[in-house]
């Protein structure tokens, strides 16, 4: 069993989190809690560490059904991109986004400017 498969997805009220081996995470719903890092930061860190331990070349995070988030949740994606950028053992972090969801267009454009070398933004309809 890979390290990725050992990561446990949190069960949250407004957002569903699912892991699909070998390397896909799907987030769907909304994230607008006061401190979303309490619910999701440790999980994202675990996925990041598993990707490194498994020497994954690429990890896909599908947010195309994540319809709305607050800026504290956007911060979680900034942190994740920064972990990969600053890691000695890098992998490509690929975000599958929706062209129909406004926050994704603006925020993932900004995120790309932060870590061009490690991010892939893959918009779908």
């Amino acid at each position: 069993m890979s390290n990725f498969e050992k990561v446990i997805a949190p069960k949250l009220e407004t957002v569903s989190v699912a892991l699909t081996p070998p390397a896909t995470v799907r987030l769907a719903g909304t994230i607008t809690s006061k401190d979303p890092s309490q619910d999701l930061a440790a999980f994202m860190r675990s996925v990041h560490q598993a990707a490194i331990a498994d020497s994954l070349p690429q990890l896909t995070v599908d947010v195309s059904a994540l319809t709305f988030v607050n800026s504290s949740a956007i911060r979680l994606f900034v942190d994740w991109a920064t972990w990969v950028k600053d890691s000695t053992q890098r992998y490509k972090l690929r975000f599958v986004t929706s062209r129909k969801i406004t926050w994704q267009k603006t925020s993932f454009m900004a995120l790309t400017s932060l870590a061009k070398d490690v991010l892939i933004i893959d918009p779908v309809d």
């Binding site: 909304t30 607008t32 006061k34 709305f68 607050n70 800026s71 504290s72 956007i74 911060r75 900034v78 942190d79 991109a81 920064t82 950028k85 406004t102 926050w103 603006t106 925020s107 900004a110 995120l111 400017s113 932060l114 870590a115």
Partner: protein, 174 residues
């Protein structure tokens, strides 16, 4: 035959009286986090239904979410600390404003952040906020105000009001 299209009110007449200065929406409520989701979704529905554009509805969501989050986070515990949300439209401009009674300890930081934002165009300011968040992983996000300007397509203004209250106004094109 039943139409499946969503109705668009497309009527910008203020709901009470004929005074054009009257807001389209006026809400007053306790500064509780639990209200924010519902009020944001009301703003989405209201803008979609009144003006008929998804783009404006999405922008309204960002403006309302982030301004209310800031207001709730920094409100003091005074019984008079209720929030007011006002939505106005005049000509080709829409305006969202939130009045609150903040803890004075946060005011200097808020003024400084708004002043800093206005030295950059909205896109540059949003990119700079991402860069700051990346460089300061243990500090608070502080992406909200920059996000309102860029994603919400509005400019922000801060005004002092009587009794220690402040009003943050976000104005942009309809």
């Amino acid at each position: 035959m039943v139409s499946l299209e969503k109705p668009v009110v497309n009527d910008r007449t203020p709901p009470s009286g004929s005074d054009p200065k009257q807001p389209l929406v006026f809400m007053r409520f306790r500064p509780a986090w639990a209200y924010i989701d519902g009020i944001r979704e009301f703003a989405r529905f209201f803008c979609q239904t009144t003006f008929g554009t998804q783009e404006l509805a999405d922008r309204a969501c960002v403006v309302v979410q982030e301004t209310l989050e800031n207001a709730v986070k920094y409100s003091n515990s005074d019984p008079q600390s209720e929030l007011e949300l006002v939505i106005r439209a005049e000509g080709e401009t829409i305006e969202f404003s939130v009045s609150s009674l903040p803890d004075p300890a946060h005011m200097d930081a808020l003024r400084e952040e708004l002043n800093g934002l206005h030295t950059l165009d909205p896109e540059q300011a949003y990119l700079a906020a991402f860069m700051r968040a990346s460089n300061e992983p243990n500090a608070s996000a502080r992406l909200g105000l920059a996000r309102i300007r860029y994603e919400g397509g509005v400019e922000l203004a801060l005004k002092d009001e009587p009794g220690g209250r402040i009003r943050i106004t976000a104005s942009g094109r309809l």
